[in-house]
């Protein structure tokens, strides 16, 4: 009796499962690549992107709709959260929803969506002129040699430095490390980027490796190439800087915000961050570096360093019924007028190269010409359908190396192996 009572819990679990057997079906994942082959369809379309916080998109669409009454665009606004945007797109693609015609795609999703057959290749009738775009932004939209996503807004890293302590910004990594004695004399940290265990770490490590002349994956987008001396040199630069204290140890907790706060508190001589902190550091009430800082391109080995690339591209859904209109709308979004509007209204870094030299825009955003140098030298993160696994491999192993728990060689060889397994299934 007692024993049977004791097993009731087990029986309970079993019963729930058994009762459900009848209800359970097989949920099938994935789908065939049956795309809508018709590329000449015209008609109303929907544009999908994340939250339009600066009220940029709606006026643009209104302008388009006035000129194209028969091919009106409807705006579908997604959430702010990248994961939610991703899941929303996946859900609609998986349902082969023709209601999502033009979609904004984070650059790191391009390969995944393309490999699933969800994006329309921008070739043939749908070809887009990308010659005026910054080259790395085009590379970030290219999978297997085919352009799937068109550049829209981009982003690159900048080196923020203290003008009250440094006359001319360092051009190379070694120069920057030499300047660290100034930081020491002033009793502040020398340099920091984002080294907490998250996507920003991949961005920073990729920058170091690319700057040193290495690459993370080969041209095919999946074969890891971290066993090279260049890659080793890249990771070593960061590890050594941590060892010497040139990067303060608390940078291991830095995401963008913590780094910005440290820089604004006057605790850093050099700081790698995105353009967004420029206006904050110059206007924040608490900022101690107001008027005392400027930006430079990231330092390299013997010239400009290689930034990683952020931003969103735009793509045509494979299931769209009005692809000709969709591509026209993309072309409209890429036009100089609209790209300029994106800079003026939302401080977006444009994909169009010519805008960076525009004097008027430079007056509004003083960092613009520096940013151009940064993005021209930028290297996109690996365009791989298994990007989540790749970034995980980089994050985990480089984090261990920065903390001194792993040698650089060990970290790179583990990264190499982990990226290799990423490409071959789970």
């Amino acid at each position: 009796m007692k024993a049977s009572r004791r097993t009731r819990l087990a029986a309970g679990f079993a019963l729930v499962s058994a009762a459900a057997l009848a209800l359970a079906g097989c949920s099938s994942g994935g789908g065939s690549n049956a795309q809508n082959q018709d590329t000449s369809g015209r008609g109303p379309i929907t544009y999908v992107q994340g939250k339009d916080n600066n009220n940029l998109i709606r006026p643009i669409i209104a302008e388009w709709n006035k000129a194209h009454p028969d091919e009106k665009v409807t705006f579908k606004e997604q959430s702010d959260n990248a994961d939610q945007q991703h899941d929303d797109l996946v859900q609609h693609f998986q349902a082969k929803d023709s209601g999502y015609d033009v979609v904004a795609v984070d650059v790191i999703w391009t390969a995944e969506f393309a490999a699933k057959g969800w994006l329309q290749p921008l070739t043939g009738d749908l070809k887009i002129d990308t010659s005026k775009m910054l080259k790395p932004t085009v590379e970030a939209g290219t999978y297997n040699g085919t352009l799937y996503t068109a550049p829209w807004v981009t982003d690159g890293g900048l080196l923020y430095y203290r003008t009250d302590l440094i006359k001319t910004p360092p051009k190379t990594w070694d120069e920057m490390m030499a300047d660290c004695k100034i930081a020491k004399a002033n009793n502040i940290g020398c340099y920091a980027g984002q080294y907490a265990d998250y996507e920003g770490l991949t961005v920073n490590v990729a920058e170091a490796i690319n700057t040193a002349g290495g690459t993370i994956v080969g041209k095919d987008g999946k074969t890891p190439t971290l066993d090279t001396p260049e890659a080793k040199k890249g990771l070593e630069m960061l590890v050594d800087a941590f060892k010497d204290g040139d990067i303060p140890k608390e940078a291991l907790t830095y995401q963008e915000e913590q780094g910005r706060q440290a820089f604004e508190a006057g605790q850093l001589l050099f700081h790698r961050n995105w353009p967004y902190i420029y206006s904050l550091a110059s206007t924040d009430g608490s900022s101690k570096v107001k008027g005392k800082f400027a930006v430079a391109p990231l330092p390299g080995l013997d010239g400009t360093g290689a930034s990683s690339l952020g931003g969103h591209n735009i793509a045509v859904s494979a299931y769209s019924k009005h692809k000709a209109t969709a591509v026209d709308f993309i072309k409209f979004m890429e036009s100089e007028k609209i790209q300029r509007e994106a800079v003026v209204k939302a401080s977006n870094a444009p994909a169009l190269a010519s805008l960076y030299d525009d004097p008027e825009l430079n007056k509004q955003l003083p960092y613009l010409s520096t940013l151009k140098t940064s993005i021209e030298n930028a290297v996109p993160r690996p365009v791989s359908p298994f990007y989540p696994a790749i970034t995980k491999a980089i994050e985990e192993n480089s984090f261990a190396a920065l903390k001194g728990e792993k040698t650089v060689d060990q970290a790179l060889s583990d990264m190499q192996k982990a990226i290799k397994t990423a490409g071959s299934g789970s």
């Binding site: 459900a20 949920s27 994935g30 057959g117 265990d197 140890k249 291991l252 299934g425 789970s426």
Partner: protein
């Protein structure tokens, strides 16, 4: 529905009849009660079967499917097909597939390599937090069981950590433990609570203890209040020290309620997600639940295998606990509900 229920209640309280009638009536009444109970219970069971049973079975089905892989020639994804037990060996034996179809040991940086370390993390958190919470909970309960002015204030204060949602708790302590935060300034340290392995683990344990000890204390207090004061008086007359009467009276009498509380806490700690997910700490604080969520978007079928493994492990822990510590949940509960718990 409710009229049937009332019918059942009426049957049991019906006025006495003749003995023969009564015997047949009793059997009939029991059958009627069974039937009524069945109709009353079935909606709950069906609902649970839908919301729990369906996903479990579906997860098991998915766990035997391969995740979509890439066709090297076209660069497009293709369906994975039947996987056998490879999704399970991926986690349990840390085997990763190679491009030539064989398997290799999963390298660090692959989620598969993280299974046993996350198992360690999960159990470590569980053991340490449950022990701390039991000890502190006991202490708090004993204090609250004493008669003194302001006792109700203590009881109220203790509910505050419990009432704050875990997500808010995690954000709050993330701020408290940040490099420039109050903890580091109070102790004039520069500990990287949110990044370094052990500080992050310790921080999460502290947060969890802060948040959950009140729950433990209240359950223990309920047990304490069932012990009549005379028992202690008698012990005191016999010359027992406080310490001795704790071990010989309090603990044995509270034991059944305590074991149930501990079991609940263990099972709750084994599924910990909110704290490590929001507070951070990277792989050093990645519990099973965190690992499942990380895997979910990378490969749902492998994630299903993982969550099935987790489910089985948790079930085993519950089973072993019940088996060897004799925490008979159902029995204790029934006894508790009948007010027989002494």
């Amino acid at each position: 529905m409710s009229s049937t229920a009332m019918g059942a209640a009426r049957d049991s309280g019906a006025p006495p009849r003749s003995p023969r009638q009564q015997r047949g009536g009793l059997a009939r009444a029991q059958r009627a009660r069974n039937r009524n109970a069945f109709f009353l219970i079935i909606p709950s069971i069906v609902l649970l079967a839908v919301v729990i049973g369906y996903p479990i079975v579906s997860a098991i089905v998915m766990a035997f499917q391969k995740d979509a892989g890439l066709d090297a020639a076209t660069g497009f994804f293709v369906q994975g097909g039947f996987a056998g037990i490879s999704n399970f060996t991926h986690w349990l034996l840390q085997q990763c597939p190679t491009s030539d179809g064989g398997t290799t040991s999963c390298p660090p940086g692959n989620l598969g390599a993280q299974f046993w370390s996350s198992t360690f993390t999960t159990f470590f958190f569980t053991v340490v937090t449950v022990i701390c919470e039991t000890v502190f909970g006991f202490w708090m309960a004993i204090i609250m069981n004493r008669a003194f002015h302001g006792r109700s204030l203590v009881r109220t204060a203790i509910l505050v950590p419990w009432a704050i949602p875990t997500a808010v708790t995690a954000k709050l302590w993330f701020f408290i433990f940040s490099v420039a935060g109050i903890v580091n300034s109070l102790f004039a340290t520069k500990i990287l609570w949110t990044s370094d392995d052990w500080p992050a683990r310790i921080a999460i344990i502290i947060i969890d203890v802060w948040k959950t000890t009140p729950f433990m204390a209240l359950l223990i207090l309920a047990g304490l209040q069932l012990i009549p004061e005379e028992v202690y008086e008698a012990a005191r007359v016999d010359g027992a020290t406080t310490w001795k009467s704790f071990w010989t009276i309090t603990l044995p009498l509270v034991r059944p309620a305590l074991l149930v509380a501990v079991l609940f806490r263990i099972l709750d700690a084994l599924r910990m997600y909110d704290l490590p997910a929001i507070f951070g700490g990277g792989d050093a604080t990645a519990t099973w639940s965190v690992l499942v969520v990380q895997q979910m978007r990378q490969g749902p079928n492998a994630a299903s295998a993982l969550s099935t493994i987790v489910f089985v492990f948790i079930f085993l822990v519950a089973f072993l606990f019940v088996r060897f510590l004799g925490a008979n949940v159902v029995q204790t509960t029934q006894a508790q509900q009948k007010g027989e718990l002494k």
